[in-house]
């Protein structure tokens, strides 16, 4: 059974239909990439899955629960975390306060401390800057904070929206390495990326979104070899 199963999802902003009936699934342990051009509807899809937007129709199931109409703040507790587009760290809160916000739904203090030390181990920079306001971090550091914050909820599934956006090439490589590490340590990943080449390189499967519809889907290596994907998304 799929961990996340989206069926015939439609989402609209007023009269503009951004998602026109898409179906996809993510299985436990996978990295699934969702790629597509600007405005294809990738962010809209993720926001609908985590309850920031409501679906017009269709169904979203997570670990057997129907979460289509569930308010966003209840979804985290089911084990799904979302690293939003543009990072959206709390600029006026310290790095540590941001991380603690990530663990907001968790109660056990010692377990939270344990996760915190794991996050610090993965992102040593965050520990060095734990008392600094998040707004003063560099873009790459903010991305790490956004990821660390999501990991603080100890998610089974993590959704990431363009984690490499606006980062220098060194950071981009680091971020993709970290995504793989997160996946190897047992967290399933749904990855939205503009950087299709890198995303397909680490993904197991992928979906190509074109103006609200899924145009293509398949194994990541097959899509990497696909001529139309090469032309449209890989710049070859």
């Amino acid at each position: 059974m799929a961990m996340l199963k989206v069926t015939d999802l439609k989402v609209s902003y007023g009269v503009i239909q951004a998602i026109k009936g898409i179906s996809f699934e993510v299985n436990k342990g996978e990295i699934v990439a969702l790629i597509g051009a600007n405005g294809a509807g990738k962010t809209t899809t993720l926001h609908t899955v985590t309850g920031l937007l409501s679906a017009q129709s269709g169904k979203i199931e997570y670990e057997g629960h129907d979460i289509t109409r569930m308010p966003g703040h209840k979804i985290v507790a089911l084990g799904m975390a979302h690293v939003p587009e543009g990072r959206r760290v709390f600029a006026e809160l310290t790095v540590l306060e941001n991380l603690k916000m990530g663990a907001y739904t968790r109660k056990d203090k010692t377990e939270i401390e344990d996760t915190l030390s794991k996050v610090y181990k993965r992102f040593p920079r965050l520990e060095e800057r734990k008392n600094q306001l998040a707004g003063t971090l560099s873009g790459g550091e903010q991305q790490m904070l956004a990821m660390g914050r999501a990991l603080m909820s100890k998610p089974e599934l993590i959704l990431m929206d363009e984690p490499s956006m606006g980062l220098s090439p060194i950071y981009v490589n680091e971020i993709f390495d970290i995504i793989q590490e997160i996946n190897h340590s047992g967290t399933t990943v749904l990855l939205v990326e503009q950087n299709a080449k890198k995303a397909l390189a680490i993904a197991d499967r992928a979906y190509v979104l074109e103006t609200g519809n899924i145009a293509l889907e398949g194994k990541a290596e097959e899509l990497l070899a696909n001529d139309s994907v090469k032309k449209a998304y890989l710049g070859e």
Binding site: H47, G72, A81, P84, R88, F90, A91, M101, G102, T105
Partner: protein, 292 residues
């Protein structure tokens, strides 16, 4: 000299009340991005609730104070739920007009129930005045200063040190991201209205103990002054509201004593204009530096 110090203490005391009210404006603005123009009338409701408790129900003072605080908290939450929440995505002007409507509604309900004739009210604060070096400070003033200080310390600790306080700060920065953390945004907004209203109730109680007379419009003037204080300090900024209130009270008191009673309000607004010309986001407000 003695006179100056007395005026400063008076100013500090009036300013404390403005500050307590200004906190409600600023916290609500911070979290809901709206000016709750009905906030001043919460003070009025708090004052009448105290009167009902003390004079009509003959409750012990502490119980009457608690009643006033609870009534205001419930009212604040209810107003948000009924009037503002449905407008969360509406244009700011619609929200503003609704808030003004709520203000009129509360004033007119008070008018209907308690009539327009001012009701005299004996201060419930039975603290003797204190004389230091020939300067006399009234009991009401002492209690006002102490209560304000305690409220501010508790509020600051709550906002900065507790989980709910961090959640409040997170929601005021980014509701969507806060929701993704598992924070119930609606509940956090409710809590903020409740806290603002509790502070307004405390302000109302202190205010009515100074002025000793109840009218349905009694909240309007301190309400508008506190709003000015919140803007002066930097709307949305909690220490700014505290500072703005105190500064406003001091200016007003000095202006009344040494310039002109009639002109004191004009001077207060004049200071606001000058401050906003120099620092458009208020004394402690941050200039928005939009990051890409």
């Amino acid at each position: 000299m003695k006179n100056v110090i007395e005026q400063l203490i008076n100013g500090l005391s009036t300013g404390s009340i403005y500050a307590l009210i200004a906190l409600g404006y600023t916290m609500v603005y911070g979290i809901a991005r709206m000016i709750n123009f009905a906030h001043g009338d919460i003070i009025m409701v708090g004052a009448y609730a105290l009167y009902v408790g003390v004079s009509l129900m003959n409750l012990p003072i502490a119980a009457a104070i608690l009643l006033s605080i609870i009534v205001c908290a419930v009212l604040g939450i209810t107003v948000e739920k009924v009037a503002y929440k449905p407008l969360r995505k509406a244009p700011p002007l619609a929200v503003l007009i609704t808030a003004i409507g709520v203000s009129f509604l509360l004033q007119n309900l008070a008018l209907l129930i308690f009539k327009a004739t001012p009701i005299p009210f004996q201060s419930v604060i039975q603290v003797p005045s204190v004389s230091i070096g020939g300067i006399t400070i009234s009991g009401v003033t002492i209690v006002t200063l102490v209560m304000t200080l305690i409220s501010m310390v508790i509020l600051t600790l709550f906002i900065n040190q507790t989980r709910a306080g961090s959640a409040m700060r997170a929601v005021s920065e980014d509701k969507g991201a806060a929701e993704l953390m598992g924070i119930n945004v609606n509940r956090t907004i409710s809590q903020t209205f409740a806290i603002g209203s509790v502070l307004a109730a405390i302000a109302g109680i202190l205010y009515i103990c100074q002025y000793q007379s109840l009218r349905p419009t009694l909240g309007a003037l301190p309400g508008i002054k506190a709003f000015v204080a919140a803007v002066l300090g930097g709307i949305g900024n909690v220490p700014g509201a505290m500072l703005g209130g105190i500064v406003l009270g001091l200016i007003e008191s000095i202006a009344k004593a040494y310039i002109s009673t009639e002109l004191s309000d004009a001077i207060v607004f004049g200071v606001l204009v000058v401050v906003l010309l120099v620092r458009p986001s208020g004394l402690l407000g941050k200039l928005k530096n939009e990051k890409v």
